[in-house]
Symmetry: C2
DNA sequence: CCGAATCCAATTAGATACTG
DNA sequence: CAGTATCTAATTGGATTCGG
């Protein structure tokens, strides 16, 4: 069996792989309104996420074509991340996910009591 | 920082965690039409997924309240898996995901050439 | 038929330190 | 400011074996 399994063939398997990064959904959502700089992005993430991890996830999402990295030659350095076309289309999923996530949280609360 | 991070608080972090299993999306989609028995479910999954892995993922999804396991006392044993209420509500996300996944696959193809 | 137990391999996140 | 390199720790999937 191929290492990539059904990546690029089955839409579920493909998406699963893309979003497997622990913070992928959060990053895509945070970039949704517009370009954000690296440190600003980090500030908007949970404190649990380190510099290194954010850097890796961004690289990965960029390699997958979901986000775009724009570097401005300046001192101090300035780099912005934004959604690509296909990344922007993910907003619909993101919205559905947000709604469902909130319902699930309610479900959790009603269940834990 | 708590081990669970924002699980149960942020809808994105929560959902991310739930869907982190390598086959979660595929399983939820496969169960969508109605209850399916274990071996039948396995047959509908990619061959790459083993018996053991499926079993674990099902247990995990059940623990999260997304699916329901129904055991019929009989010989040979018969066990059916189906979506719970909250699991069924995930269909909306699943549909959005399916659409986007297909767009992404197209994007991949146009890019690889 | 359905699954648990165990062990191993692979992946990925986090900590720390260093750079232009 | 925005990274990279390296190491380690934790998680998770896969293979195999055993059981009601």
């Amino acid at each position: 069996m191929d290492k990539k399994d059904y990546f690029g063939i089955c839409p579920y398997a493909t998406t699963q792989k893309l979003l497997s990064g622990k913070w992928a959904l959060l990053i895509l959502h945070t970039l949704s309104p517009g370009p954000v700089r690296f440190n600003e992005l980090k500030r908007r993430m949970p404190a649990a996420m380190t510099h290194t991890t954010l850097s890796r996830q961004l690289k990965s999402l960029e390699a997958d074509g979901l986000i775009i990295r724009t570097e401005y030659s300046a001192i101090p350095p300035k780099v912005e991340y934004s959604l690509s076309d296909i990344g922007r289309k993910f907003d619909k999923v993101s919205d559905a996910l947000f709604e469902w996530g909130n319902e699930y949280i309610k479900f959790l609360e009603s269940r834990d009591v």
